[in-house]
């Protein structure tokens, strides 16, 4: 038998009811696919009195494609995200990013909302109770000190979701429902740069919908994930990019990272690349942006230095790759 803390499982049938349940008591958690939450509960990370399941709420698994955007219910599984023809046709890079998450049996349970709200990770945190207790716990859970940076005052656990960076690049918006009502906001506003509290959701709030504007014609998109094994692993670093070229020059470039900071990071400074030619100098500038804004810490068994280097290398390579793909496509359509 496996020990999980005692909790009661609630099955609200509306989002409003779910929000009420979430607000009603302090120790309550949302469960969607459960692949991340139950792993953590098995390690003793959290002792919620109840879990609020989203499974019986109708509409959370919707995928609606319109002329302007694709609207996903937060409960869409990663397996569907990767395979539904409408997504593969309109947002192929998103489908491809979903396929990089864990393995197929995780993806058939794990959801889009769950991946966006994925807890941050750290080698001092993702250990069992016995281990953490013997280490005096940590700032993120039950302790006073961040073992990654004991002098500092913050938790450095890394955000490791694979979908957020691409959705940031796509300028996705999320719908958040709480007891106080519904709000819609850019995805970026969901996150703080704090490993212990990386989500901005208030008590009783949950992500219910993700709206992704269809990319502008000619926009090339991709997500690249650095990891040691080609499956199962979380990203050591992940890079998502959107690039639109016009007459051989950068017209628009967006770049976001995961796995390197406590939140997914949409890089600043990309506007300055507008007008640049697709050459080694551009790659160099893109690499510099990543190098400056990625902030990996010793939160994984693989060195932080490597994670910064590989994020930089992937971004450099990706910009030239996307530029070439864009050029190929415009030639193809001409």
């Amino acid at each position: 038998m496996t020990r999980l803390c005692e909790f009661s499982l609630r099955h609200p049938e509306t989002i409003e009811e779910a929000a009420r349940l979430l607000a009603a008591e302090p120790e309550v958690r949302v469960i969607a696919g459960g692949t991340a939450l139950l792993t953590n509960l098995r390690l003793g990370l959290g002792k919620p009195a109840s879990l609020v399941s989203l499974e019986h709420i109708p509409g959370l698994d919707k995928i609606e494609v319109s002329a302007q955007e694709v609207r996903f219910g937060a409960g869409v599984t990663l397996a569907r995200l990767a395979t539904v023809p409408a997504v593969r046709a309109s947002l192929p890079a998103l489908a491809q990013a979903a396929l990089t998450v864990a393995g197929p049996s995780h993806r058939s349970a794990a959801t889009l909302g769950g991946n966006l709200c994925l807890d941050t990770r750290c080698v001092y945190y993702n250990q069992n109770e016995v281990w953490r207790r013997s280490n005096g716990y940590c700032l993120k859970h039950g302790g006073e000190v961040c073992h990654v940076a004991p002098q500092g005052k913050r938790c450095h656990a890394a955000y490791s979701g694979d979908l957020a960076p691409l959705l940031l690049v796509l300028q996705a918006e999320i719908t958040v429902t709480g007891t106080g009502g519904v709000r819609r906001m850019p995805l970026g506003q969901l996150y703080h740069d704090d490993g212990a509290q990386h989500l901005t959701l208030a008590r009783g709030e949950l992500v219910t919908e993700v709206s992704v504007p269809l990319p502008a014609p000619g926009m090339q998109l991709a997500y690249r994930k650095a990891r040691v094994r080609d499956a199962i692993d979380f990203p050591l670093a992940g890079v998502a990019m959107g690039l639109r070229m016009d007459a051989g020059r950068v017209a628009e470039l967006h770049l976001a990272l995961t796995g390197t900071n406590s939140q997914p990071v949409l890089l600043t400074g990309t506007a300055e690349l507008r007008g640049a030619a697709a050459d080694a100098a551009l790659a160099e500038r893109v690499g510099k942006l990543v190098q400056r804004q990625a902030s990996p810490q010793r939160t994984t068994v693989t060195t932080s230095n490597y994670r910064r280097q590989v994020a930089t290398a992937l971004a450099r390579r990706l910009v030239l790759e996307l530029a070439a793909a864009g050029a190929g496509q415009s030639r193809g359509t001409a």
């Binding site: 280490n135 094994r229 450099r316």
Partner: protein
Amino acid sequence: MNEIASCASHGEGIPAPTHAAGRRQPLIDGIEKVTGRARYTTDLPATQALTGAILSSPHAHAEIVSIDVSRARALPGVRAVITGEDCDVPFGILPIARNEYPLARGKVLYWGEAVAAVAAEDEQTARAALDLIEVEYRTLPVYISAAEARAPGAVLLHANKPGNVEREVNNTFGDVDAGIAAADLVREESFHYAEVAHAQIEPDCTLAEFDPESGRLTVQSVSQVPYYVHLTISECLKMDPADVRVIKPFIGGGFGHRTETLPFEITAALLARAARGTVKLQLSRAETFTIHRARPETDIRLKIGMKKSGEITAVDAEVVQRGGASAGYGIITILYAGALLHTLYRMPAVRYRGFRVYTNTPPCGPMRGHGGVDMRHAFESLMDMMAETFGLDAFAVRRANLFVAPYQSVNELKVSTCELAACLDWVEQASGWRSRKGKLPRGRGLGVACSHFISGAAKPVHWTGEPHATVNLRLDFDGSITLLTGAADIGQGSSTLLAQIAAEVLGLELARFRVIAGDSALTPKDNGSYSSRVSLMVGNAALAAAEDLKRQLVAAAAKRLEVGVEDIECLGEAYRVIGTDRMVSYRDVVKSALEVTGPLTTRGTYTVPLDMQGGKYRGAGVGPSPAYSYAASVVEVSVDEDTGQIKVEKLWVAQDCGVAINPLAVEGQVQGSVWMGMGQALCEETEFVNGRPLRGNLLDYRVPTIVESPPIEVKIVASYEPNGPLGAKEASESSLGSIPPALAAAVAEAIGVRLPGLPLSPDRVLAALHARRREERLKSALAGAR
């Protein structure tokens, strides 16, 4: 009954004996495995079992000042609480090195070492009881590396071992100094190897049933060595071994993790006796990692002398192994690292210094390719580097050092057969080496290396004077034959192989056989499944038992047909008077054979001939074997220079395992073995921070997935081993060691950098590439300055 008529009633003419050996035979227990019916230890019905749980040390090195279990004992539902007080008998696989207790006594020597244990009515109560045990510790300095533990003034983990050195080996064979002096090139390099783990997919578990009325104990456990479990448990519990029964259920992989009695097995037995009932002690994956017993972190300094021809003139090696907290197989491992230098190539002179060091890490032990794997990487790598200096091809330098069997090494090991030359020929041809090596695009490379292993140790670790292996065959009225063996099938297919050997001798289909393996109440004692001993040793015993049974059946047939035994030939399903059509069916022969004696049991044994048991020097017991198996591998890789990521494109392996009794299983073993070597080469490693294991899970201990695992082409080269059953020798460990050096050589070709050790993880590869670029920049800057 008319003999001929009885055969005719089968509707056949003259039957031909079945050849069960040499064919691609699915596993005899395969159906159970694919249907989920196979019961592993954790699956055994045990509805009444109490739940066992272990309190482990939160410190890597500390004195235990006091333990108070009174509150835990008082908790309702708790049936037993035990501590180090409950077992004062030290255990360890080697009679000369027993310094481990199932529950720590006085000191804890590594993080996670068991300190106390509880049996309770359910999991929750057991966990709650653990929280009520109060232990006071006084912490001691923690030594994670061998260097720290050997530093002057370090606290001794075991009082009788100065410098924390468990065993220092100093062996010189041949004239090393003369060999070095005669060399055209002498080169010395240092290498560092991370510790790796077996990571068998089945976590550890023991079910112990104590019967309070009879005082008897039955233990079912995940062991590769049920006999040693039997022996150790009876010693540690001070019980008559006759009151203990050990049963081996299905085992979910071993690879060396389970080749000695493990502390939790004894603890489960102690708990069952204390609770006077049945206890199931299931370990988590994290706890299973802490049991460890795998390949140690190793530092190697290696010097080779070589002639321009590639011929090696002398070897001088020093090895330091971080052995962990207790002895286990440590002495054997440090001896193998030296002994296995001798029997792959012709070695005129070898000096070997080895240090096995006690550290505050989980005890290391044997892992597939025991002792030889890291040294093989160092040796093959240095050989490649030196060959480059002479402009010699990697195949040429290896061929320059082949010996022709029979061969006796300078340390008195006798190799009866060796087809390494044929192995090299095949991988060279199959990989297209000659046309491709050196002509691959940047980022791609090919590497070759060789390796070998023993077919069982000629001297058992626990010498009793008994034969090395015993097999019984039981034949009863129904004509079915039950093969009884203590040899543990751990997934390698040993039960299938033994049945094939017996069936081959008797000319029968495998369907006539059942195998019962590893139940001390039924099966003869066997030393266990380790050092690749089962195929050859237990195989020979099975062969002997089958030959004995055949003799008795032939005699019964002769009597029935009223001819001499020399006139009878065994056709499997019939016995015939040679050259005639007079015959009697197998079933009728069985009837006749059982007439007077009743059900038959035959016994076959195997003992390694004395002249193969090695020399007389200290440590001579490690290395000798009745046969050695050989392998050569070529690895092709591509390397992403931006990310440091290595992709293994393909593996080619040629294996000399004598006659392949089950070619299907040989392929499976070789594929699994080289793949495991690949994992060690690419990405597997353990790691400790402040004494705590950082990678005690299957996310951070990175066992390769199916996605990055390459196609593996296996060639079984033609060979016949006279000392093996039906010509066979081992096939599961010898190929592993060839992969890390072949892979490293391929990477060296791909990126122009050779890394001094393993694993070649992306971060290490990228760091090496960056270092090379810095060096090149520096060089060109210096050149510019001139």
